[in-house]
Symmetry: C2
Subunit: 299 residues, 2 copies
Amino acid sequence: MSVLIVGSTALDSIKTPKAENPRLLGGSASHAAVAASFFAPVKLVGVVGNDFPARYVKLYRKHGIDLAGLQIEEGKTFHWSGEYEVNMNRRRTLATELGVFEKFTPSLPDTHKSTPYLLLANIAPALQHHVLDQMWKPKFVIADTMDLWLNIALEDLLRLLKRVDAFVLNDSEAHQLTQCDNTIEAARRIHKMGPRNVIIKKGEHGSLLSNREGLFLCPAYPLRKVVDPTGAGDSFVGGLMGHLASTRGPAEKNLRRAMIHGSVVASFCCEGFGLTRTTRVARRDIQRRVKELEALARF
Amino acid sequence: MSVLIVGSTALDSIKTPKAENPRLLGGSASHAAVAASFFAPVKLVGVVGNDFPARYVKLYRKHGIDLAGLQIEEGKTFHWSGEYEVNMNRRRTLATELGVFEKFTPSLPDTHKSTPYLLLANIAPALQHHVLDQMWKPKFVIADTMDLWLNIALEDLLRLLKRVDAFVLNDSEAHQLTQCDNTIEAARRIHKMGPRNVIIKKGEHGSLLSNREGLFLCPAYPLRKVVDPTGAGDSFVGGLMGHLASTRGPAEKNLRRAMIHGSVVASFCCEGFGLTRTTRVARRDIQRRVKELEALARF
């Protein structure tokens, strides 16, 4: 079944201790959509300016991504630039130019409103609500977020938590949201805020799922070299949602393997700048790493 | 088969944000010996002063630990006091009084020299060498360490790495030793220094084994509350070694399940101050958590 993904579509200029890459295709929706496209048909909802390079439209299309929901507006595409520290775990935003993204109001084409799987990738919670309002009974809704929204849009976010099937955030965000330093206890507290599936991302340490089936400790695929982790979290949740949409039966039962697949796509994301590595991945590369993860976790 | 464990035997005064506990039984050898005792007969080699409380000798005995190698010297027992920060991942040493430990020279009773499994728990590398020198062809040798020895006894430590079957250290120590921030790459570099099994501890994020069988990502048992993590690493390596000594066949094949058992004992250690929780654990409690870890890691 198909996946509708709403989020940011951006141009990212990324500095790491080793290199610098200007105006890469980025944004939460871009990473998530490419990641999901390995497993299911994807419809992207977002906005770009008329400076958006045609080669990136081509790239989306190469991945079979439906662009009927991609608005092209007069003005500049959202531009983010950031810098990673030596250990690649911390990043610093150098500049954020919102451009056409500032006035983005996602409006869904009718063909999109009955999409069964909805991924509200990282974007302002008000916009996530706005998309959810337009949907006709989606089968499964996942929302991702970032620390910014905890700081400036907490009420919207808390309302959103009551409307989604799964909520994804990283460990430091979980600690901030719950005022609790213990990740397991934080997951329990987030359940009380609404979502019956809580997924906490821990970067190189993998991720954690908490739901009625119990806890699941999802490993990260071990990488000897990380080139650029930008978008890894978006790739994880996109791959997760794409894989979930490709399975049958109750989502709760399928979430573990979906997370494994998301984790593998995220590992490829980290091996290149922006989407450069992810877009060269074949389905068999993913299957090979899934098999490797099975072997790495066996005892 | 039996396990010989050499390391520190100490009295620990531990402050956490929530409580304070003076003169608990501590030290790397104490934690490791109690942890190993759940799976195999243990011989402890260490030194205490004549102030060492009789109740702690009783506690060792309750766990069936052979104390023929425990020297009791005129003077004070090694006393460590430390304080944990709010998130329990960082600790600060408040005071270290070496006492009789300062002049400790481990001398093995003849009955101990042919013990098949040797655990060189955290202690000065020179003392680890000294014990190894007295042994008659041990079947499997594991060495643990701490950052202090990387700073003040690196040459001894590097020589030791060529003499052991497995080397255990935590992730920040692995990064320091290899000058490499990537844990997977650090493991590869440590292999080149000698040991064919490298085990990197990552606290709440579990641990990593690298050997000829490939990589193994060992999960940590998820705890909703950590009371005191002091000795968790020693408990992990002790439980690991004890379990390994209880198995047959090539150690390489058995290390994964041994690590799982070490991880479970370490989880109990974190649930009480010092050894207070660990010493109340029954073998069936361990088995239950091992089963839970199997379910938590399944996908």
